[in-house]
Amino acid sequence: MGIIKAIFNIFRSLRMANILLFILMGTMVIGAIVMPLFPSYRRINTTSLFSWLSVTPLRETWWLYIAILIVALLVINTIFCTVEALIKKDRNRRWPLVISPQLIHLGFAFIMLAHLLSSYMAMQGFVMLNEGGGIRFSNGDTLYLKRIEYQLQRGYITDMKAEIAYSDNRGITKRLISAPNRPAFIRGTGVYLKDVEVMPARRALLQISYDPGARWALVGGIFFIIGTTLLVILKIRQEAV
C-alpha cells in the first residue's frame, strides 16, 4: 500500500508535470534538429506513425520513443492531478476555478488518445486517375474520376474540383465532389483532390486518407478551449483584485 501511495504522490505532483514538460521540450528540440538530417523523415506522414517507426532505424527515431514515453507519463500525471483536485475537499476554492483546469486536462487526454489512435491506424495513399478512369480496391469497391474542373489566373491554378463516383461491392454508387479543403468522405475515409493536370491528359492526383484520431482530437480541442476560456476569465478577474 505504501509503494502505491508513494507512486501516486510522485505522479500527482506539479513538480513532476514541470519536469516532464521540460524533458519533452528538450526531445522536441532534438527532433526538430534530427528530422531534416535523415531522408526517412520524408515518409513519416505517408503512413501511421507506428508503422513508420517499425521500419525506420532506431538511431534516427530514438528521440520519438523518448517523446512517446514522456507523453505517456504526462497523461498519467494529468489524470492523477485531476483525480486529486476533484476529490480534495477544499471548501474555500470556487467550483469553476477547480473545474476549469480539469477541463483543460481532459481535453489534453482526449488529444493524446487521438494521437494514439492515429499513430496506430491512420493510413494514406495516392492515386493518379485520368478523367473517366477508375481504380478497384482489394475489397472490391471502385473509385472513378468522372470529371475535373479548374480555374487559371496568371498561369496559377486558383481553384479546382473533381467529380468522383464510388461503387461498393454491392453495386451501390455514390457521386461526390472533392476540392481543396472540401474532401469527399466515404465511410470515414477522405478523398482529397491534390492536383489536376490537363497535359498530356486530363487527370487528377487524389489522396485517400483515413485518420481515426481526428474526431477525438476535436472533442479534446473543445474541452481544452472551454477550460482555458473559463480559466482566463476567472484568473484575470482574480489577478485584477
Binding site: A32, M35, Y156, I157, D159, P180, Y192, Q207, I236, E239
Partner: protein
C-alpha cells in the same frame, strides 16, 4: 504605397510623442486594408504581410496594458520599438502578389493565422513586461508587471491554443490529417509547451518573480524562432 513608408516613421515618432502610436496603428491598418482590398483576400501570406500584421497586433494589444501601467514610458517605448522593428522588416520583405493557392482559400486558414499572430503579439507584450520587471527595483511595480505578464501569457495561450485547433481542423480538411510531422509543427508544439510550462511553474512560489519573468522573455525567443527561424530555414506545410 505611401502608407507603407509612413507607418515606420510614425512608430519612430511614437517614441517621442505617445499619441503618434494611434496614427501609426491607423496608417498600418489602412495599408493592410488596402492590400486586402487589392488582393481580394486577407493579406496574411508571406513575410511582408505577416510581419506588418505582427507589428500591428503588438501595438494594438499593448493599449489595454499601457493604460494600466504607471509610469508607462518604459513599457510604451519597448512595445513601440518592437512594432517599429517588425514594420521595418515587413517593409524590407517583398509583398506576395501571387494568387492564393486553393489550399489557403478557407476561413480555417484565416482564423489560424490571425489568432497565431494575435497570440504572438501578446507573448511579445509579456516579454516586454518581463524586461521591465527585471529592470525595476520597485517591489509594488514589479508585482504589477509580473501579474500583467501572467495575464498577457494566459490570454495569448488561449488564442494560440485556438489557433492550433483551427490549424488542426484546416490540416484535416486540406491534408487528411490534423497533425503532420514536420519541424514547424514540432516547434509550434514546443512553443505551446513553453507557455504550458510557464503557467504551471507560476503555481509554485519558488518560480514567482524574476524566474517566471525570465521564462516569459525566453518564451518570446521561441516565438520568434518558430515564426521566423523555422519558416526561413526549414521546409514544412507552412512554406508557401
Amino acid at each position: 504605397m505611401i502608407l507603407l513608408f509612413i507607418q515606420p516613421l510614425l512608430y519612430g515618432a511614437a517614441l517621442l510623442w505617445e499619441k503618434a502610436l494611434f496614427a501609426a496603428i491607423t496608417v498600418q491598418a489602412g495599408y493592410l486594408l488596402y492590400r486586402g482590398v487589392t488582393l481580394g483576400r486577407l493579406p496574411l501570406v508571406g513575410l511582408h504581410d505577416t510581419l506588418l500584421f505582427l507589428s500591428l497586433s503588438t501595438a494594438v494589444l499593448s493599449i489595454p496594458f499601457w493604460v494600466r501601467i504607471r509610469p508607462r514610458k518604459g513599457f510604451f517605448r519597448l512595445t513601440a520599438v518592437a512594432s517599429l522593428l517588425f514594420s521595418l522588416l515587413g517593409m524590407l520583405s517583398r509583398p506576395s502578389m501571387m494568387p492564393l493557392p486553393p489550399v489557403l482559400k478557407t476561413f480555417w486558414f484565416e482564423l489560424h493565422v490571425v489568432l497565431s499572430f494575435l497570440s504572438y503579439g501578446l507573448f511579445g507584450i509579456a516579454a516586454v513586461l518581463g524586461v521591465i520587471f527585471l529592470l525595476n527595483r520597485d517591489v509594488a511595480m514589479g508585482r504589477m508587471m509580473e501579474s500583467l505578464q501572467y495575464r498577457a501569457v494566459l490570454t495569448g495561450y488561449l488564442l494560440f491554443s485556438l489557433s492550433m485547433i483551427f490549424g488542426g481542423i484546416w490540416a484535416y480538411f486540406a491534408w487528411g490529417s490534423y497533425w503532420l510531422w514536420t519541424p514547424k509543427e514540432l516547434w509550434t508544439t514546443l512553443l505551446w509547451l513553453t507557455y504550458t510550462l510557464y503557467l504551471h511553474l507560476r503555481f509554485r512560489p519558488y518560480w514567482r518573480g524574476a524566474r517566471i519573468a525570465t521564462i516569459g522573455i525566453a518564451g518570446y525567443g521561441v516565438v520568434l524562432f518558430t515564426y521566423l527561424g523555422v519558416g526561413l530555414l526549414m521546409k514544412s506545410s507552412h512554406s508557401f
